[in-house]
Amino acid sequence: MEYRNPLTIEAENLCVSYEKTLALRIHELQVRGNIIGIIGHNGAGKSTFIKALLELIPADSGRLLAQRGPNATRLVPDRDMAFCPETGAVFSDITVKEYLKLWCRLKAGSPHYLFKEGQSILEILELEELLHKKGRELSKGQRQRVQTAAGFFSQPRLFLFDEPFDGLDIQRTHELIELIRSYGSKMSFIISSHRMDVMELLADEMIVLEDGTVRTTGSPKRISQDLCPHFLRISGVPDYERAYEALQMALPHCFLRRSGDTIRIASSQMVKDTVLKTLQKNSDYEIPIVEGEPTLTDAMSLYLRKIKEEKDGMQEDKGMSY
């Protein structure tokens, strides 16, 4: 989807560290889109990136900024941004209503905003039934919904979400996707998530972080192709289980996934011949192998597997050197 006022994220020589641990090191970055996804392995620096953008963590050096609008106006965190952390947020000993009123008072100018302009957000996020519950009575998903509402009440130009889909069921996930899409013309979003299926649906641009550095950027499709240049789909295998096991043995560095009666193979190298030979050994029939485009889930699964193997290899090397 084309947006009139897309968001631009720029970074240059950015270094962010906790105590003495370097958490982000970005030489150069420029991403433009209205819903920007940040993905990466655990500890890749996704949350740090968001917090650095919100200026919650000061940069040791370099710059990181967000711009939006035709004149590329620089967005200021306390004026233009809202943030919903992974755990959501509500004070444990006050009601959701009191907490949201506090936000309305602070960011929308009046506590009455909650039941006037804010009413539609309450309805979309189904918060009306939670209004009289105290923070400590809420689940993680409910806390996230409350903080999401608080963020929308701020009417930000950029809304940053840290793992918003964690712990949400399918229905709630789709509701949040719809909510984000419906506000897409009014504000931009940066979403960090492990949910590749959702990010593929939602994001128009993505940043892949790896150990605090930018691995790649681009649209979900481009990222999928970048991370997984070779993808095969095999359907109608007669002895499905045996074939799958044989392929796993033959392709130890590929990512294999079963989906219905289809085996999906994500690989960084050409493996079609190996697949053919392996299948022929196990079956007399000719099995159709389709080269296709990987989904983001396939690509990221392959990528994460590679990272894990590399890290395991490094640890083994370390162990051997001892």
């Binding site: 306390d78 506090l102 903080q147």
Partner: protein, 435 residues
């Protein structure tokens, strides 16, 4: 920066539960502490400032118009002469022995009587007991075992004992001490001691290097005053440190810290925390300073307010400024130690090094009195430096160091506070994750 911070502080306090936990409850607790401290000080001061005449009046009141007797018997005056009732032993047809009081109206037993349990009720000489209990009890029963009022003496046991069976009985027994000859002896000792100090005159310690001689005669009064003022400042600062940490914890635990800081800005959020803190302290000071002032005004005559309190208001203000800045620095250091609780080395250093420095400073300052002239410079250096000067600054009204020393101390302390606050704000900004 201040206005949004103020808006956040007010918005927080408008939530009833937050108002109670952040403002009302700590305020009530502090006021209770302060009231206990003031009651204690009042009692001590009323003892310190007594003249022999005051003492005599006090004892006379206790002897002749006792509040306790008024409570128990309806009149504070001493009771008429105590009735001595010697009980008689009888045997029934089965040979069991029992005792009965004399069959007169005046010997009808009552719970608030006093009894002596002895082997031979008819033979014991009770003159001393009559003298002891006269005026506070109506009857003295003497029996072997059957007379059982609330107070029973066993004079023949070794050691002798008295069993008291009620709280009023306990109070009445204590009332006896005011009527006893010991009280008169104590009065005489008090008078002699008072006369001794009167003859000696007001004591002054001519400390070298100080503006005025140190008046020691009324030192207890001054110490009480110092304790009260220091208590107010310490409790105020304790409230400040606790509020500061509490608000941060409150946000951090609820997950609202990051969204709130992001939405409002770090400086604004941090200033809101300090505004809540200051509101707490301000309310406490408004509630405690007037009663403290009236207490000291009513207890002490102005001439007793020795040292710095006797001089002009400028001296007093400068000392309070020095004391407040010194304690503020202590509170700030404590708050930093608390904030950096995850970094053990910092936390330890902030917590204990200033304490050690203050103790060392106090010790050196005291020892400097033995060094003659050369000690003066050391004393002045210690008194002018922040942290090491906590003890000399607290007792400055007694020793009265030169005013420029107090001024230098205040200035240096304020500079250190500013530097620490700046680093604290930077640290807060850089370590939100660690909170």
């Amino acid at each position: 920066m201040i206005l949004p911070g103020f808006r956040l502080a007010l918005a927080l306090l408008r939530i009833p539960r937050l108002f109670i936990s952040l403002l009302l409850f700590p305020l009530i607790l502090s006021l209770m502490l302060m009231t206990a401290q003031l009651i204690g000080t009042t009692i001590i001061l009323s003892q310190i400032t007594r003249t022999p005449e005051d003492m005599q009046t006090h004892v006379k009141t206790l002897q002749e118009n006792s509040f306790l007797r008024k409570l128990v018997y309806g009149s504070g005056a001493r009771l008429s002469a105590i009735e001595v009732c010697r009980w008689q032993g009888f045997s029934d047809e089965h040979g069991a022995v029992f005792e009965l009081p004399p069959q007169t109206n005046t010997c009808m037993p009552d719970r608030l009587d006093v009894a002596l349990h002895v082997k031979n009720p008819d033979e014991i000489d009770v003159t001393q007991y009559v003298e002891l209990f006269n005026g506070n009890f109506e009857r003295l029963h003497i029996c072997q075992q059957d007379c059982k009022p609330d107070i029973v003496l066993h004079p023949e046991e070794r050691p002798p004992r008295v069993n008291i069976y009620s709280l009023i009985g306990l109070l009445l027994v204590n009332q006896l001490s005011f009527d006893s000859p010991i009280e008169q002896e104590a009065l005489m000792v008090f008078e002699k001691r008072y006369e001794f100090f009167r003859l000696l005159g007001t004591q002054f310690f001519m400390a070298r290097g100080y503006e005025d001689p140190v008046q020691l005669s009324n030192i207890s009064f001054e110490v009480s005053l110092l304790v009260s003022i220091s208590s107010i400042i310490i409790i105020g600062l304790w409230l400040a440190v606790k509020a500061h940490r509490k608000v941060l914890d409150y946000f951090a635990k609820s997950g609202a810290l990051f969204p709130m800081v992001a939405a409002l800005g770090k400086s604004e959020f941090y200033s809101a925390i300090w505004i809540v803190t200051l509101l707490r302290v301000l309310t406490f000071l408004l509630a405690t300073i007037p009663p403290t002032y009236f207490l000291f005004s009513s207890v002490g005559e102005s001439e007793q307010w020795g040292g710095i309190f006797q001089k002009d208001i400028g001296h007093m203000i400068l000392w309070i400024a020095a004391l407040t800045s010194t304690f503020s620095l202590a509170a700030l250091i404590s708050s930093l130690a608390d904030l950096k609780h995850r970094v053990y080395v910092f936390s330890f250093a902030y917590r204990f090094i200033p304490l050690m420095l203050a103790a060392l400073g106090g010790a050196f300052w005291l020892f400097s009195f033995f060094f003659g002239e050369s000690g003066i410079i050391l004393r002045h250096i210690i008194a002018s430096l922040p942290i090491v000067s906590i003890i000399p600054i607290i007792i400055a009204p007694i020793f009265q160091p030169p005013l420029d020393i107090i001024a230098v101390n205040t200035l240096l302390t304020l500079i250190l506070i500013t530097a620490l606050l700046r680093s604290n704000t930077r640290w807060f900004a850089a370590h939100l994750e660690a909170l």
